[in-house]
């Protein structure tokens, strides 16, 4: 499986570098912007910027026919999917690390005064990245990568929609429909993580039934 993960990162290498540059640029921007609203959005963007490479990864596999070839390798089909999802989890982790640069600076500059804003950025970023990856990958596996961009946009909308839906569902507990409520943030992030894990099993099923001509 190590070889499969290595292959995933090699094929996404260039795009990951671009994501790094963007995330770093956002971190630098955060040094000059003091508004809490911006800080939280910057952290959310940094967390989710790496996950757009999910599409790149699958597209690279399809173009090179690696997705067909890897089935002939001495690895189980479950492990192929496991390697993919571990790679995606690492992408999310990279986003968390980059977001932490902004968070650490914001804390150093203003102390705990904007802690809630930073937490919101993490919750929203995690919801966005985990739900996006979880929705995007099995869809692309099933439909194909020709509609890559549309699937990515739909996944992003679905991830935001999830948060809106949960804020509505949790209204009895939060008192009003508030997407920025801490409870909504935590529950959204947990549900997104569940979607991400569940997505692995869906992808395994799709992959097992897939035929390569």
């Amino acid at each position: 499986m190590k070889g499969l993960i290595r292959n995933n990162f090699y094929s996404m290498e260039n795009n990951i570098k671009i994501s790094f540059v963007i995330a770093l640029f956002l971190a630098v921007v955060s040094f000059f912007v003091k508004q809490e609203g911006f800080i939280q959005m910057i952290i959310a963007m940094q967390l989710s910027i790496f996950i757009v490479n999910v599409g790149t990864s699958l597209h690279a596999d399809v173009v090179s026919k690696w997705n067909k070839f890897e089935l002939t390798l001495p690895v189980k089909s479950n492990d192929i999917m496991k390697a993919k999802y571990i790679s995606f989890a690492v992408l999310i982790l990279l986003g968390i690390i980059m977001g932490s640069i902004t968070a650490v600076y914001a804390y150093a500059a203003n102390g705990f005064s904007n802690a809630r804003s930073i937490c919101y950025g993490y919750e929203f970023g995690l919801t966005l990245s985990a739900a996006m990856a979880g929705i995007m990958y099995p869809l692309m596996l099933k439909i194909g990568t020709e509609k890559n961009e549309i699937i990515m946009i739909v996944s992003a909308i679905a991830a935001v929609g999830l948060r809106a839906l949960l804020s509505a569902v949790l209204t009895p507990l939060t008192g009003e429909m508030n997407m920025q409520h801490p409870l909504v943030g935590i529950v959204s992030a947990i549900v997104a993580a569940v979607i991400f894990i569940g997505s692995y099993f869906v992808s395994v099923k799709i992959y097992r039934h897939k035929e390569f001509s």
Partner: protein, 286 residues
């Protein structure tokens, strides 16, 4: 004789094509050429063998193991090369070896490096900068580098120049020298197979037309060239396939020695695999 691969009654139906009850074997230590025109069913057969498509019926045994319960240990012993590159374009041959050595326990890095040298493959350049021929050479090097027992190649020599193709065919011959390694190579470049194959499996419209030792085919089959009157005089049982070209009739016969004795006035020549295939596909049958 032990078999590296045995296919029995393989059937796969699509809406517009059917692989119909395919059966053939690859004896250990031999090279089997799978020939046929585009769309004949070669790739469907190869994909079924590799489990890339689900067969409707039939059984496939590789190195004594049924492919329905194909485990990693068996896959380790099978090398695969498809038409074109199978690897991410962003990789270099060096990075590719880092990927594959973590996957194949039998990966032989020094052999891989020597193959890169032998085939003039730049180790540090990205695959996306390679020509089609170079990509094919890399795929072949990667397939050889984990010491497979059975090599399955789907149109692997297409896109290669004659010199490189010859080098690779020599590698194939060397590979099967010890009688323990075997190769299934699907190709429409029949001249390659004439050089290296021990057996020829000819597939046409999803059906096996023949599966015979190559030498037997080339020794026995013949092409009778004659006019209309002589064509009418030929017994229909002696005709495998025929076609008319302008004023000449070309008749494929299964036993050219017998035909030469029976029709002493006719000109009967030896045939190439290409000509046999052509007459089967484009000719008419009695």
């Amino acid at each position: 004789m032990s078999m590296a691969l045995t296919i029995t009654g393989l059937t796969k139906k699509y809406s517009n094509f059917m692989l119909d009850n395919i059966s053939f074997s690859i004896p250990s230590g031999s090279i089997v050429g799978l020939i046929g025109e585009n769309g004949a069913g070669k790739s469907t057969t190869v994909n079924s063998i590799l489990g890339l498509i689900k067969k409707d019926s039939g059984s496939i045994t590789i190195l004594g193991h049924d492919t329905d319960d194909f485990d990693c240990a068996v896959k380790e012993k099978v090398g695969v090369v498809f038409d074109g590159s199978n690897f991410s374009e962003e990789l270099t041959p060096i990075k590719l070896s880092k990927v594959l050595r973590d996957i194949y326990s039998s990966w032989d890095q020094s052999y891989y490096n020597s193959l890169l040298n032998q085939l003039d493959i730049p180790a540090a350049k990205k695959i996306k900068t390679f020509s089609k021929g170079m990509k094919m050479k890399l795929s072949i090097a990667a397939a050889f580098a984990h010491h497979p027992h059975l090599l399955i190649l789907d149109e692997a020599t297409s896109g290669l120049d004659p010199v490189v193709r010859d080098d690779i065919l020599d590698m194939f011959l060397e590979f099967v020298q010890d009688e323990e390694h075997s190769i299934l190579v699907s190709s429409h470049i029949t001249s390659d197979l004439e050089k290296v194959a021990d057996y020829i499996v000819f597939i046409h419209a999803g059906k096996i037309i023949f599966c015979s030792p190559k030498d037997e085919l080339l020794e026995h089959y013949g092409m009778m060239k004659c006019g209309a009157a002589q064509f009418d005089a030929v017994e229909k049982n002696d005709i495998v396939a025929y076609r008319r070209q302008d004023y000449e009739w070309q008749i494929l016969v299964a036993d050219r020695e017998k035909a030469a004795k029976k029709y002493p006035k006719a000109m009967i020549t030896a045939v190439t695999i290409d000509e046999i295939m052509l007459l089967y596909v484009k000719g008419e049958k009695e």
